[in-house]
Amino acid sequence: MTKNDENGGYRRYWTSWIFLLCLNLVMVIIGSASLSRNLQTPLLLLGMLLMAWIIAFRFMALADENVGLTVTIIGCTLFAGGTLFLLIAFDGVRTFALSLH
């Protein structure tokens, strides 16, 4: 392994770090700006997902894992998370409806 390869390996973590710090700053600015809720919320959610993607694929090295493992992890989390959300959603909607009366 050459010195350049070695530095390249480390460099990808630190470029991700700089990108994450910039995203953090942008999100705080958006969060404290007086934007309309319809614009602010999707922007913040997009920033959140981007940060999560960078951490999962770079810091957790999911990008270097076997494709089957990556698909299983993401698939399991989304499926189980979605099921959990639906289970809570029924009660949540009922509570919300009660709060309106």
Partner: protein, 207 residues
């Protein structure tokens, strides 16, 4: 007899249902860590979903700009993200056998984690001093205080456990008893703590 047992064991390991000796071409320790992470992620997903519904069901919700110091929260996020980068570097250094570098970056990760916990303790002390408890708070929305203490407290507990793991890993690495695989598991756990905060940060403090 021994031959029969060996054949049975080999068949069990190599059957398609068992996934072979190394399912997904990864170590079983790493696979178990991923399963733990998925399970723990669902716990946090449940907390955040409940928080969302409680917030929707409440007729009003405190203005976050009046309650939180966003500069402090941004600093907390910076500390945790930076510790994530130092941990990833330590894991990479372990893979290459640079153990001195591993110890150095593990200590930096520990410093980041402790800085985050210190800032969280300060934030909690401010909240408690203002009169917030699990049941009530000065902003008049009882579920707000409960959600805050539950979600940030649960995450803080994960950070504390991570710090203990990092401390043990640093000592083991410094004394030459650690392996790259073990460090990778500690790295996965620490990155997961980072990942959870990335969801709590906008959903609780910004939106």
């Amino acid at each position: 007899m021994e031959t029969v047992q060996t054949i049975e064991r080999t068949e069990a390991f190599e059957s398609p249902w068992a996934g072979g000796v190394s399912p997904f071409k990864t170590s079983w320790q790493k696979l178990m860590m991923w399963l733990f992470i998925i399970g723990d992620a669902l716990l946090f997903a449940g907390f955040l979903a409940i928080y969302g519904f409680v917030r929707l069901a409440s007729p009003s919700w405190p203005n976050r700009a009046e309650v939180f110091h966003l500069e402090l929260i941004a600093l907390m996020t910076t500390a945790l993200i930076s510790s994530g980068a130092t941990m990833a570097t330590a894991v990479e250094a372990a893979r290459r056998g640079h153990w001195r570098m591993v110890v150095r970056f593990l200590l930096l990760t520990l410093a980041g984690g402790l800085a985050f916990l210190g800032m969280q303790a300060y934030e909690w002390s401010q909240f408690i001093a203002a009169g917030a408890t699990l049941q009530s708070n000065p902003w008049g929305v009882p579920p707000f205080g409960a959600s805050f203490f539950l979600i940030t407290g649960f995450h803080g507990a994960h950070v504390s456990i991570g710090i203990v793991i990092l401390l043990i890993t640093a000592v083991r690495s410094a004394t030459g008893r650690s392996r790259a695989g073990g460090l990778e598991l500690a790295g996965l756990y620490w990155a997961f703590v980072d990942l959870v905060w990335v969801f709590i940060f906008p959903l609780f403090y910004l939106i």
